[in-house]
């Protein structure tokens, strides 16, 4: 495996191997000495054409803990804002000897284009492309679910996870549906019909419009951000009505299963899809998702950037 562009690049055992590696790497984050020599001398570029806090910082922390050199590149303040194309940017990075490029881009398929175009030879990791996929987020969500709810089991067999909110614009939802179902979990997506993508029936997930009916049956609720910046039309009458039907508030939390957890990939619209008291409650693992993100991204970098001196499959 050279690139991570989509969850479809992974089979079940490869996904589990990344989660297992992340479990071992998590102890590095707990150790007083948070650094390993594993990727010493390798250059990793964070190419972020779209705003990001968690993903960029988390990939940067992960790469630095493995001793790689990190170059941060954001569209604002670079020649991209002068109109430089992705091709020219990629060729510049290639000329500088980047071993891997972590790309966040507003266009769906940007990571795939970069990986298959021959503009550059390094590893490409998709850190979110438009409304398509965000595989590292799905892996860290699976890691968090496994750690909290699976008592040592390797996969997510038997779990029921609800993904609630703006499914239409969410790359997190798509990657999570693919990964969680691959790992044996049942996934239900909950949203107003206007916020479901065309072709949702072909996803490996149940579709529901009734959040309240689902709440007592699920082991985890993953709230999605309402992506106002991608909404050029009116998708729901007003914010209050959206919150009332699809927001997570303390009344709904009271009806959740005892051991169930609340997740959110961030950034949150407090008061819209999730109330502030719920986001900060004991059931919420939102902050923990962020710290797990570093371990999982270390595991991704380790898996993709070691062994690249050989042709894949040359050694058993």
């Amino acid at each position: 495996m050279k690139h991570l562009l989509s969850i479809n690049d992974l089979n079940e055992s490869e996904a589990i191997a990344i989660l297992d590696t992340a479990t071992e790497l998590a102890r590095v984050s707990d150790a007083p000495m948070k650094k390993l020599p594993t990727l010493r001398g390798r250059t990793i570029v964070n190419l972020f054409a779209e705003d990001s806090t968690r993903t960029r910082i988390s990939f940067e922390a992960a790469a630095k803990r493995l001793s790689a050199d990190v170059i941060n590149f954001s569209a604002k303040g670079s020649s991209v804002s002068k109109g430089e194309s992705l091709k020219d940017t990629a060729q510049t990075l290639q000329a500088m000897g980047a071993d891997a490029v972590i790309i966040r881009h507003q266009a769906s398929g940007a990571a795939h284009r970069l990986a298959t175009s021959k503009w550059m030879s390094g590893t490409v990791i998709n850190a979110g492309d438009g409304t398509h996929e965000h595989p590292s987020q799905a892996l860290l969500d699976a890691y968090t679910l496994r750690k909290h709810l699976m008592q040592g089991a390797k996969n997510l067999q038997g779990l029921h996870v609800a993904i609630v909110g703006d499914i239409l614009h969410s790359r997190v939802a798509r990657s999570n549906v693919l990964l969680l179902s691959k790992l044996g979990a049942t996934v239900s997506v909950v949203a107003p019909p206007t916020l479901l993508p065309v072709g949702i029936e072909s996803w490996n997930a149940n579709v529901s419009y009734d959040f309240d009916e689902l709440i007592p049956n699920v082991d985890a609720i993953m709230m999605l951000r309402v992506q106002s910046e991608r909404m050029s039309e009116l998708y729901f009458p007003n914010a209050r009505e959206y919150s009332r039907y699809f927001g997570l508030n303390s009344d709904r939390v009271k009806r959740m299963k005892k051991e169930s957890i609340i997740m959110h990939p961030g950034p949150m619209n407090r008061g819209l899809e999730i109330t502030a008291d719920v986001a900060d409650s004991a059931r919420s693992v939102i902050i923990e998702q962020v710290s797990n993100g570093v371990s999982v991204r270390m595991a991704i970098l380790y898996t993709l950037l070691t062994g690249e001196g050989i042709e894949s499959g040359a050694l058993a």
């Binding site: 191997a17 297992d20 590696t21 071992e24 790497l25 102890r27 150790a31 000495m33 650094k35 390993l36 020599p37 594993t38 493995l66 380790y302 898996t303 070691t306 062994g307 690249e308 001196g309 050989i310 894949s312 050694l315």
Partner: protein
């Protein structure tokens, strides 16, 4: 492949190594045993049990995964990481005995020394191995050797332990011909 060490040979070698460790260190007071996964970890637990039965006192046993410190990470497919469990008392100022199954190029032990350096500063680091097959590529030697097994480079040495392989034995044969 032919059998180089039988189950009884392995048991005798581990007993002797345990005694040698105690003799060299004047008892088990300051000892920490660290096995290198997978099979080194099992050997460490066995030696720990033998030392406990001799001294009637438990000795701290842990494991040290060295994968992330290897120098051949670019040359091989990614390896699964194994657990590192350092005994709660730590290794600071202790006499640490690293334990592995087969001693070959010495690169694993170099990586182990790097990994140890990040955890603390032991008073001494010693090395116990079940089989020394020669062909060192680094200036590293073992303090305790179960059996010196002269081999050629095209031979392979396989250690099987009951904990994972259902039998105790050391096999020697031509690589790829198992």
């Amino acid at each position: 492949m032919s059998v180089a060490l039988t189950s009884a040979d392995i048991a005798r070698a581990l007993t002797r190594i345990s005694h040698e460790i105690l003799e060299r260190n004047g008892g088990s007071n300051n000892l920490v045993l660290l096995g290198i996964p997978t099979r080194g970890a099992h050997l460490a637990h066995r030696i720990g049990t033998i030392i406990q039965s001799i001294e009637s006192k438990a000795v701290p046993v842990g494991t040290l995964d060295i994968t992330l410190h290897r120098d051949d990470l670019r040359l091989r497919p990614p390896r699964a990481l194994m657990p590192t469990k350092i005994p709660t008392a730590g290794i600071e100022g202790k006499d640490v005995v690293l334990i592995d199954d087969v001693f070959f190029s010495g690169r694993t032990i170099r990586a182990a020394l790097d990994a140890l350096g990040e955890i603390g500063r032991p008073r001494t680091v010693q090395l116990a191995v079940l089989v020394d097959r020669g062909h060192r590529e680094l200036p590293i030697r073992a303090d305790y050797v179960g059996k010196n097994l002269p081999t050629s480079l095209d031979q392979s040495v396989k250690v099987h332990l009951t904990e994972i392989d259902s039998v105790d034995e050391v096999l020697i044969g031509i690589a790829g011909n198992s």
